[in-house]
């Protein structure tokens, strides 16, 4: 995609968000869309790791939950203002994830996935059992101030504006990531992913870029965690649970990880399907389990891959026709 195409699609996406936020009157629909958008950001983080590093994380809820807890704890202890707390949380998350990445990405293949699962569950258990700071299994309320970045909290928490905020964040995350992946960093990480040994032969240091992708993917997921903390004003060990990581991974696979926006599509499909299923929603695990297996076996590139093939097919047919 050229820069011009990127700017056009960004502007369109922002416009669509503004229209939806004003045109949709139902608070329930808006809050469903807000949730889908937050999970879209989460899933993009997980997808980024798979797309640029070829690594599957079964424990990304770690970053989703930890960013919420970090802000919650900072605000509760009144260490700094909420704006600074948000920035400090994201910066801290990036640094810690980079240090973790330096160790984690050395673990080969499937063992990496098992390690992420185990570490995620370790934090889940710690958060559920430590009573004092995090409120244990009951979770903690986040004491947001009355204004955030000059916007009054009562305005911000209206369904329309909350959706607009989350949607804009999603669009900006996709924009920044696609710009970043257009640079040399994108090509280096793809080279390392496809053949680490060969990349080393041509003089690329492979550990740092892979750890950087890991940190970046953690950061994106952390942003989703902050949005969720803002949306619900609450964080609990559920935000760290492995099933949440699993759901995010499912969105990535079903949406398709080859395209940057594929995981976001997966998130939307997931929430729509869950809403449509209604009464059957108690069986969502089995339904999505079957969906996951079907997609993986018959279209490993997900829905995004199917769309891509359909449109590419049409374009080819049209070119042929002319």
């Amino acid at each position: 995609m050229s820069i011009k195409q990127i700017s056009i699609s960004t502007a369109t996406a922002l416009g669509v968000g503004a229209v939806v936020a004003t045109a949709v009157a139902s608070g329930t629909v808006l809050s469903l869309l807000t949730q889908a958008t937050i999970y879209a950001v989460f899933a993009i983080g997980v997808g980024l790791l798979l797309r640029q590093n070829g690594m599957v994380s079964f424990g990304h809820a770690l970053f989703f939950g930890c960013s919420g807890y970090a802000v919650g704890i900072i605000l509760q202890m009144q260490l700094m203002s909420a704006e600074l707390a948000i920035i400090a949380t994201l910066a801290g998350l990036l640094l810690i994830a980079f240090a973790m990445g330096l160790v984690m990405v050395r673990v080969p293949g499937v063992a990496f996935g098992m390690l992420t699962l185990a570490i995620g569950q370790m934090f889940f258990l710690t958060a559920s059992r430590s009573r004092g700071l995090t409120g244990g299994a009951d979770g903690m309320n986040i004491e947001w101030p009355n204004t955030l970045f000059g916007v009054s909290m009562s305005v911000l928490t209206k369904p329309g504006s909350m959706f607009l905020l989350c949607w804009t964040t999603l669009v900006l995350v996709v924009l920044l990531l696609s710009l970043l992946l257009h640079t040399r960093f994108g090509s280096i990480t793809e080279a390392v992913r496809d053949n680490e040994e060969r990349a080393r032969f041509v003089g690329i240091r492979t550990l740092l870029p892979r750890a950087a992708v890991y940190a970046l993917s953690a950061l994106v997921t952390g942003v989703a965690g902050l949005l969720s903390a803002l949306n619900t004003g609450f964080v609990s060990p559920e935000n760290l649970h492995w099933s949440l990581s699993g759901v995010a991974l499912m969105m990535v696979v079903v949406g398709g990880y080859k395209a940057l926006w594929g995981p976001a599509l997966g998130a939307v499909v997931y929430f729509l399907a869950k809403d449509i299923l209604g009464d059957f929603a108690s069986h969502w695990m089995a339904i999505f389990g079957v969906a996951l297996i079907t997609v993986i076996v018959f279209s490993p590139t997900g829905i995004a891959g199917i769309l891509d093939r359909v449109f590419l097919g049409r374009r080819l047919a049209r070119a042929h026709h002319h």
Partner: protein
């Protein structure tokens, strides 16, 4: 006090041996980390609960693993075998989908509340061990774990099929060229691994309660064991299972605040030191 804790550690370690030998066997032949292994363990336990309710524990001990063995063979024939040329991560995700399906199935059939299975009457007594009274059933669990470890080792080391399994784990293509039917072999081994998950489930039922969270607890401990021991290494898994069982049990008493995270800390330290685990990964 120390005796009973060491003893409990040994019991949990024995259970992990039964779990992890199944995981390691399946990984060895199919190069698949079965994320559904914990759910199969849970399914085995619940099947055992129902069978024991209709007849008795001993019938359940035989029939539940037998049903699981059939499921395992089907899983290999219509799952792993068809996907053997695909990216390993693809297969892992398929087993993850299977995990979701089995969890839902178990919750739908047996509900979400805790259930329990009575220890068989013949083992419902206590034994005096170095001045501490311990339940005989737990001694039987340790015995089952050790029998599985010794039995599998002898089978792999001395039988003809065991030789084929070792050969196929090392190099399936060459083994197939020598005239070994590796597909049938894999089906058998996946069946055996799944039966072991079921056996672990029914053996655990009388001393751990049955609940929908029983699968995630045990699968995470099992992953720690096989990653620390080295993926696909049986000996590594046996040692790591016993160590983890002890760490869990002693940690719960002497370091209660950090006991939950102790296994993970050990795992992270070992992986930093040896990224492929103790016995080295055979990838």
């Amino acid at each position: 006090m120390l005796t009973i804790n060491l003893f409990n550690g040994l019991t949990y370690g024995a259970l992990l041996i039964v779990m992890c030998s199944g995981l390691a066997l399946i990984y060895g032949l199919r190069r698949v980390v079965n994320f559904a292994h914990g759910s199969l363990y849970m399914l085995g336990a619940y099947l055992g609960y129902s069978i024991a309710g209709h007849s008795n524990f001993w019938v359940a001990l035989i029939v539940a693993p037998a049903i699981m063995a059939v499921l395992g063979v089907l899983l290999d024939r219509y799952g792993f075998r068809l996907l053997q040329d695909r990216d390993p991560l693809t297969v892992v995700l398929v087993t993850f989908g299977l995990l979701l399906v089995i969890e839902d199935f178990v919750q739908t059939v047996w509900g979400k509340s805790n259930l329990s299975v009575q220890a068989p009457a013949a083992l419902n007594f206590s034994v005096d061990l170095f001045g501490t009274s311990v339940p005989a059933y737990r001694i039987a669990v340790i015995f089952v774990g050790l029998s599985v470890a010794v039995g599998l080792s002898l089978w792999l080391r001395f039988s003809k099929v065991g030789l084929f399994v070792r050969a196929s784990s090392t190099d399936p293509t060459t083994t197939a060229m020598q005239g070994v039917n590796t597909d049938a072999l894999s089906a058998g081994v996946v069946g055996l691994g799944t039966a072991l998950a079921g056996l672990a489930g029914i053996v655990a039922a009388p001393f751990l309660s049955l609940s929908p969270s029983m699968s995630s607890d045990v699968i995470i401990d099992s992953f720690v064991v096989v990653v620390v021991g080295g993926l696909g290494s049986l000996a590594g898994a046996f040692v790591a299972a016993l160590v983890l069982g002890m760490v869990q049990s002693l940690g719960a008493v002497y370091l209660p605040d950090v006991s939950a995270i102790l296994p993970f800390v050990i795992m992270v330290v070992i992986l930093i030191w040896k990224p492929a685990g103790f016995a080295g990964s055979r990838t």
